[in-house]
Amino acid sequence: MARIGVFTCWCGENIARTVDVQHVAEALAAEPGVVCSLAFKYMCSEPGQSLLSRKIAEERLDGLVVASCSPHMHLRTFRKAAETAGLNPYLVEMANIREQCSWVHHDRKLATDKAIELVRMSVAKVRHNQPLNPIRVPIVRRALVIGGGVAGIQAALDIADAGYRVVLVEREPSIGGKMAGLSETFPTLDCSQCILTPRMVDVAQHPHITLHTYSEVESVEGYLGSFRVTVRKKARYVDIDRCTGCGECWTSCPSGKNASEFDFGLGRRKAIYVPFPQAVPARPVIDAKACLKLTRNRCGVCLKKCQAGAINFEDQDQMIEEEVGAIVVATGYELYDIKARDAGSSVSGYGEYGYGRYADVIDSLQFERLASASGPTGGKIERPSDGREPKTVVFVSCVGSRDRAKGIPYCSKICCMVNAKHTMLYRHKVHDGEAHVFYMDVRAGGKNYDEFVRRAIEQDGARYHRGRVSEILEQDGKLLVRGIDTLAAVPLTIAADMVVLANAMVPARGVQQLAQKLNVGYDEHGFLSESHPKLRPVETNAAGVFVCGACQGPKDIPESVAQASAAAGKVLVMFARDHLTREPEIACIDQRSCSGCFTCLQACPYQAISRQEITDRAGQVLRYAAQVNPGLCMGCGTCVAVCRSKSADLAGFSEQQVYGMVESLA
C-alpha cells in the first residue's frame, strides 16, 4: 500500500482567495493511499520545504503531491526538497491549482471542487510513479560562437581565457562586425576601432580560439553537451595560411569600382580586397561576382603578382565538422533597408524620405563611415553627391522604429544616443554647420546618457525639434526637409545639404534560418527568444544554446558586451561540471514485444530510434527491434502514440500513470 503525502498551498491569497484550501486538504485525506494531507500558506518557503522533509521522514512517505502553482515554477524546488529528505525526486508530482484554477475562476465552490479533482488526478498518477535517475551525458568542453561582432568576440575571449577551446564562425571575411565600422562611441566618444581592434587581434592570436571567417553554419545535430556542427567555409580564392598580406594583389587588381560593403556603398573596393585595414584575418578575399578571371576568364594579375602562391581560382566551398558542447549565438543586427521591398516582408515604407533616390539622404551607419578616420573620406564630412561639406544636416529619428504602420512597433533603443553623438561629431568637424534633430521622444536611459544628449544640445548647439519629418524633397541642389516642431506647433521646412536617417535595428538577415537549425525560437520580428525575459536572459529553450547581443533584441555596445560575458559565464558553468544530466523522462521500448514495424523510427522527430539486431546465444540474427538512444530522445511521446504493439512507453508519463489519472475522474 502506498504512503502518499498531499500538501496544498495557499500561495498567500493567490489560491486561498478562490479555493477553500482547508477543504481540499480534508477531501484528499480520505483518498486511498493518502496518509497525510495538509494545507500550508507558502509551500515554496523555507518552512514549507522543512514541513515537506519532516513529513517524508515521520510518515515514511513514498509519494508526494504538492498542489500549488505551475510545475514550470516550482517542480524543481519540491523535487530537490524531497531528494534532500531521501526520497527519489521523481516520486514528487504537482497539481496546478493556481494558473489552471484559482486565477481563472471566480466561483469559490466550483473552483474548490475543481481543485479537489486536479489533486486527486495527481494522486492517481503518483501511485504508479517509479523512482528514476537522471541520465548522465558526457560533455565536450568546447564552445561554438556564431558571429564575430563585439558580442561574439567578447564571449569567445571569455570562454577561451577560462581555458576552454572556442570555435568562432563569422560570415564576413573579417571579424569586427558593425562596431568595426563605427567612428566614435557614446557616451564617452572614444574611438570605436581603438577599443575594438586589440580584442580582434586577441581573438586571432588566442591559442584556444579557432577562427573560421567567411564561413556559415550549415547544419547542427546532437544535443546539449555534444553538438555536431557543420561549417561551410566559403570559397575565398586566397589561401590565408600562405598569404602574407603584402598587398601586391589588391594594389594591382584592375577591377576597382565595386561598392564597398564595409563603407555601406559610400566607398569603392577592388575585386580582391581586405574589407578594412585592421581586418582580422588581414588577408584578402576575391569577390567572385566582380573578378574578371572568375567571371570572364581574363586578367589573373593577382595570381602573377602573388609571390606566396596564395591565389587559387579553383577554390571551392569546404565543409568542416566541429564537435562542441555549447553554442553561443551572437549574429547581431542590420538596419531596416528602406529600398528593399521583399514580397513577404511585413515592413515597407518611407518612400517619402527619398532614400536611394537622393544621394545625400544616407543612413546612420553610412554617416559613421563618413565620420570615421578610416572611412572613404578620411573622416571629412563630405556629402556623397558632390563631395561638398554639408552646412546643414538634418538627423531623423525613428525611421521604422515605433511605427506600427510600417511594421516595426518596437523602439530600436540606440538611435537617440546615435543621433546625439552624430550631431557632436558633425559640429566638432564643421564648426559653422547646423545640426537639426527631429525626434518623437528622446530616450536616453543609461549611465551618463541623458547628460550626453544635453551636452549635444547645450555645448554643441544641436537643434532638437520634437516632431516627425513628413517628407524630403529635392530642389535646386538642396534637400527640403518638411516636418513639424510640435512644441511650438509650427510646420518647419529646413533646406538641408544632407539628411541622416536613423533606421530601425532589425535582426541580421538569415537569423531565422539559423534559429531553425538550432531549434531556438524567435519573435515576429526575427529576434531570438530568451528562455525567460528576466531570470534566464541569455539561455534559450534549446538546452546548451545561448544568445547575446543584438540578435536577441535592439541593444548598444555596453549591453551587448555585458550580455556576451553573461552567456560565456553560463557556458563556463556547464563546462565546470564533471558531467551533464538530462531529465530521465524519455521513451523506452520493450524489445520483447516489439514487432519490428519501425513506425516509431519514421515518426520520431529527433532521429532517436534505431534498428537493433536481436540475436540468439550463438550470434544468429533472429529479428530486428526498435531501440531508443537516450542521448537523443526528448521525451515527446510520439513513438508511444504510434506504436501498434504497445511496446513503447514514456518514463514519468507511463500509460499506467496517465490512464490512472483519467480513471480517477470517473
Binding site: 525613428c398 515605433r402 511605427d403 504602420a405 518623437m440 513639424i484 510640435t486 506647433a489
Partner: protein, 166 residues
Amino acid sequence: MGHHMDLLPHQLIRLVQLGQGARAIRADAIWQCVSCQTCTSRCPQTVDCAAVMDALRQMAVENGVAAPAQKRTWTFQQAFLQNVRRNGRLSELELIGVFKTRSFADDWSVPGLWKDSLLAPQLLRRGKLHLMSEKVRDRGVVRRIFQRCEETTAGQPSLESGGSHE
C-alpha cells in the same frame, strides 16, 4: 495646408483624446483640410486622421457650431448633397447657381457673384457646360437613400459631453 490652420492636425487629435472635442469642432482647420489623406497614410500610430476630420465636420454641422469664417466651404458641400439628392447626379450649373445665391446672401459681394461666370462662355465654347442637367430615371430611390442615411446619423454621441480639462 498646415500653415493656414488655426489648430494643427495633431492638436485636433489631441483635443479629441483629452475629451475637448467641443473645441476641435469649432476650429477653422477642419474646413481647411482638403482630405488629401496624407496624414492617414503617414501616421506611425495608424490613426486615421482624415476620418477623424470627417467626423469632426459632421459633428460641427449637426451641433450648429461650424466655424463661421469657413461657411463658404460647408454651405458648398451642403448644396452639393442637396443637388445630388434631387437629381441622383450632380448638375454643375445648378450647384453653382444655388451656391452663388446663398453665399451672396452672406457677404453681398457682387464680384464674388460674377467671378466664375466669366468662365461660362469659355466652358460653353469647349462643350463643357451642360445647360440641361442629367438626371437618373428613378429619383425616388435616391431620395429614400438620403432619408434613411439622415435618420441613421441622428443621435450620434455628442462631443459636448466630453470631459473637461480647462
